[in-house]
Amino acid sequence: MREALDDALVVASLLFVAAAATAAVLTRDPARQAVVLSLLGLGLALLFTVLQAPDVALSQLAVGSAVTPLMILLTVREVRRRKRRE
């Protein structure tokens, strides 16, 4: 019973991650893609936890929740600002 439950959690997280990765690739606007990438990061953290890797999950959470989106959004803002001026 416990193993079936573990498997169910793993399968649910795997499907979530696969769907989030697909959505991130298909979102062509980089600013909106950053939001989907953040969800992919959360999904990966969940998957790593149910695979009993809390260390890796913590790493993924730390990086994916605020730092990477901040860098992507700042780059997008910089690129757009220069584009608008031309």
């Binding site: 019973m1 416990r2 439950l5 573990d6 169910a8 959690l9 649910a12 997280s13 979530f16 769907a19 989030a20 959505a23 298909l26 979102t27 600013a31 909106r32 950053a34 939001v35 989907v36 953040s38 969800l39 959360l42 999904g43 953290a45 969940l46 936890t49 149910v50 009993q52 809390p54 999950a57 913590l58 959470l61 730390a62 929740s65 605020a66 989106p69 901040l70 959004l73 700042l74 997008v76 803002r77």
Partner: protein
């Protein structure tokens, strides 16, 4: 039968799944609301998993999520500000989610944990979740 793990699985399927749907389509505002809901739900899932697996050290994950989740949402609000239409669709659901979801998960966990340092950690996570949830919905409303 491990009720904690069942509850976590239900939250993943019925909570995180729809959040991904919300974040993958539509305007920027709706996506950020969905992202915020996802961090809150994920934090609750971590707490339930820690209890379900019988590993108190997994609570650290929830602790980090409860701080960095709202920080991430504030990053989006700050830098996507002009793209977010005020008030973004779905924002109305956020406050009830925080107000109902957090105590509904934390009260049983606190009772199961009993007094001690672990309880204090749980209460800190709960306080951070409520404060973060309220502040991010306020920020989204004024974006």
């Amino acid at each position: 039968m491990n009720g904690w793990l069942v509850a976590a699985a239900v939250l993943v399927v019925a909570g995180l799944g729809p959040s991904l749907w919300g974040a993958a389509r539509g305007g920027a505002g709706r996506r950020v609301v969905a992202q915020n809901a996802a961090t809150l739900l994920l934090c609750l899932v971590f707490l339930l998993l820690a209890q379900g697996y019988g590993r108190p050290s997994y609570v650290d994950l929830a602790l980090v999520t409860s701080v960095l989740g709202p920080a991430g949402t504030l990053v989006f609000v700050r830098l996507l500000g002009d793209e977010i239409d005020a008030p973004p669709p779905g924002l109305r659901l956020l406050t009830p989610l925080v107000a109902v979801g957090t105590p509904a998960t934390l009260v049983p966990l606190c009772i199961a944990t009993g007094p001690g340092r672990a309880l204090l950690k749980l209460l800190v996570v709960g306080a951070l979740l409520v404060a973060g949830g309220l502040v991010t919905s306020r920020a989204l409303r004024h974006a």
